[in-house]
């Protein structure tokens, strides 16, 4: 039986996916993109607009609400982009300050949450660029951006599934990593990702395809090992 083992110890192997399983996991509901489809989406869009308006009015409780709704997701994305939780918290804080400074310029072309994540992604990229310029400790760079190529290893000598995937992600281009994390991890739709990264929806789909293709090649164990374990 030939299965893609993702080059992981058997206990970390990914279980076969049921054929009737939904392709998306915990899809993120975007109020703007779902508007007009159903009353719940309309209500969500109205809530999103109200939140943006309250933030524009300088209401700190609105920011707290935004944090309550999206804070953990924002920190998770920042951690996956920056490689460690401390930098991720700094990036989330900086993002909120940027939102506060530029909220007057928000015109509602996209949903408020999508706009927020666009700022977060840009903030993370700025943080990475600064870190690269400062040439901080080498292991940080290895962990985040310039890790050595991921070599397929024999079963039993592999790190955990999470670590393997994190290392493989560092081998992707920045664009591929962004799209993969936003779509597969955070559950955004291609239309939202396109808005965040200022690309077309088709480009988002193609970038995700390339990212997954590269990850599959990096994580697939050698055929001989695969055959042995089968």
């Amino acid at each position: 039986m030939g299965t893609m083992g993702l080059a992981l110890p058997w206990e970390h192997r990914i279980p076969p996916v049921p054929r009737d399983r939904e392709r998306r996991l915990e899809p993120f509901r975007d109020p703007a993109s779902q508007a007009g489809l159903d009353p719940a989406a309309e209500a969500a869009k109205a809530e999103d607009s109200a939140l943006a308006a309250a933030c524009q009015a300088g209401d700190l409780r609105a920011y707290e609400q935004l944090f309550a709704q999206q804070g953990t997701r924002m920190k998770n994305l920042a951690r996956n982009l920056l490689g460690n939780p401390l930098d991720a918290e700094d990036a989330v804080q900086e993002t909120f300050l940027k939102i506060q400074r530029s909220i007057s310029g928000f015109r509602g072309q996209s949903s408020f949450v999508t706009w927020t994540f666009r700022i977060l992604v840009n903030t993370c990229h700025d943080a990475r660029r600064k870190r690269t310029r400062k040439k901080e400790v080498a292991h940080e760079d290895l962990a985040v951006g310039d890790a050595p190529p991921v070599e397929p290893r024999a079963p039993g000598s592999h790190p955990s599934l999470k670590m393997a995937l994190e290392r493989a992600l560092t081998e992707l281009t920045q664009h591929q990593r962004n799209v993969f994390l936003l779509y597969e991890v955070e559950g955004f739709k291609h239309s939202q990702i396109a808005s965040m990264l200022e690309i077309t929806e088709a480009a988002s789909k193609n970038t995700l395809f390339q990212a997954k293709k590269n990850l599959r090649e990096m994580l697939e164990p050698p055929r001989s090992i695969n055959a042995t374990s089968a």
Binding site: L60, F180, A202
Partner: protein, 226 residues
């Protein structure tokens, strides 16, 4: 809908629900496609490992403090705010700030110690003034007194040399007179600047150099007379 192995990548990239169903039907009889479909879906499942949505209550406190400080121009944070902001910084930043403060303390302490251990001869006004760009009040009084006495002595020399300049008998004497006029003009400018900024030691030294040059020139004139 019939699909072949060649349709697989396009369906992976942007397949409709119907196309996916057709691909899975095809994969039931195709080992290669079955493996690829399973692997493709497995990546999505593996991505769940990168989700860590544990709450961060301390993070909101940091953000709230920063937002509040940012919202009100001129807002002076309370001691509690300052402490919570300090605690909100990452450990590396806290260590860096403490280290910088320690270095500052060491350097300041060293300078104070060095200043206190200077010998009396090293504390002579001229030497200290050379090292210190700003004159202290007492040093300034001393300099001004010395300058007044110096100017009076030079004026005395100038009085002696005056007849030579009134009727210069040689081109050399005419040159001396022009030189002295230039020096007097420069001295006037420097005195005006020193008057506006009396503690500036650098101006005082420039002025002293001009007086010395004037003194030497007058002595040369008197020597030439003999």
């Amino acid at each position: 809908m019939n699909v072949t192995c060649g349709d697989r990548d396009s369906i992976f990239e942007d397949g409709t629900t119907a196309q996916w169903a057709a691909l899975e039907a095809h994969a039931a009889n195709c080992v290669a496609c079955a493996e690829e479909v399973r692997a493709w879906k497995a990546l999505s499942v593996a991505a769940a490992e990168l989700r860590d949505y544990s709450p961060s209550p301390a993070l909101w406190s940091r953000i709230e403090t920063a937002l509040a400080a940012n919202a009100v121009p001129g807002h002076e944070p309370s001691l509690r705010d300052r402490i919570s902001v300090w605690l909100g910084f990452s450990l590396s930043w806290q260590l860096a700030a403490v280290s910088a403060f320690a270095v500052l303390l060491l350097v300041s302490g060293g300078l104070i110690y060095r200043h206190q251990t200077l010998t009396p001869t090293q504390k002579q006004p001229v030497n200290s003034a050379q090292q210190d760009p700003l004159l202290k009040t007492k040093a300034l009084d001393d300099v001004e007194k010395a300058e007044t006495a110096y100017v009076q002595a030079i004026d005395k020399l100038a009085t002696d040399a005056k007849p030579q300049f009134d009727k210069p008998e040689t081109p050399l004497m005419a040159n001396y007179r022009e030189k002295l006029q230039v020096l007097d003009s420069a001295i006037d400018d420097l005195r005006a600047q020193a008057g506006q900024n009396p503690s500036n030691a650098h101006l005082r030294y420039q002025l002293l150099a001009m007086y010395q040059e004037k003194e030497r020139t007058l002595q040369d004139v008197l020597e030439a007379k003999r």
